[in-house]
Symmetry: C2
Subunit: 194 residues, 2 copies
Amino acid sequence: MKKKSQLKYEQILAETVNLINEKDVAMVSTNQVAKKVGISQSNIYIYFKNRDDLISQVFTTEVNKMSAFVIERIETRPTDNLKAKFELTFTVLFQYALKFPKSMTVIQKILQSYAYTHMQDQSAAYSKANGMLVASLDAGIATGLLKPIDRTLLQNIIFSTIKLHADNLHRGRYTERDVPFDQVAAMIWDAISA
Amino acid sequence: MKKKSQLKYEQILAETVNLINEKDVAMVSTNQVAKKVGISQSNIYIYFKNRDDLISQVFTTEVNKMSAFVIERIETRPTDNLKAKFELTFTVLFQYALKFPKSMTVIQKILQSYAYTHMQDQSAAYSKANGMLVASLDAGIATGLLKPIDRTLLQNIIFSTIKLHADNLHRGRYTERDVPFDQVAAMIWDAISA
């Protein structure tokens, strides 16, 4: 891809993120995205095979961004203490949600969308990023640190609580002084720990 | 409304529930609903002002169904013990999710949809049904039984966990013997109790 094309590619991704953030995934058309970028609809298809491919690449890009953010901050503070590692992971996910509110919203909306759940090739990036958390949760269950319960139930509490807390702060429902993250992390920990 | 019309009205609501359950809210058009019912699209507008009105009435109907189910089962077993009341509420919500899996999915999808979040008149039925749980949560916080934290965080853990557990059972991820509801209720209780 030429330099100019790389810029357009990124603009298309960014405008798709903006539109999904504002509306429902199913409401976002390649035509709307093209208008926002200021190109013709047919130009979208120079970069993406079809609408599903665009949604899929937006998803992969955002998941990779989130994973890189988390890994970078966890690897600089290595620990053998699994509980400390979970608490650091919660904090870093919260920092990401605060710093990139659109990103986490778009990841969640795409995960729940008909388009994504019916795609034949689901994101390898997501499987990889999710795989790391899954491994930590399985280790936590195996060592008796976490409740011996299906891990999707643990994952849901972690992600949905952190996301809702960040959204509540973002919408001004309360401030970080009213509800410090420590209290939120303690609630998650009480739910998942054995 | 004539008897025949009442039947059509209920068929329109039922087919809209089916379509929202299968797809995304934004993908469901009055045209599709009319086709499923076997009437012309213009006939939909005899019963509903517009698409938003249809979505809104589906939502109110399902919320009222869920509320009636919960209230009926809680009022027959009155208790002054707030903890016992919460545990009974969790169990009854789970029974509802198992018995009417489409209903809880449709309620959740509409709550998260652009159409609903941007409606001017949001459901009074939801405010009323939600109001009862809110009152119990506030009483639980005031008496020191529950964590003194914003109640939306408590509500999210209750609903999203029960819904996910019912979905996991429905999709065959595990059986009720693998993950008994007692374990799920204990996880919720550990999260929300002080």
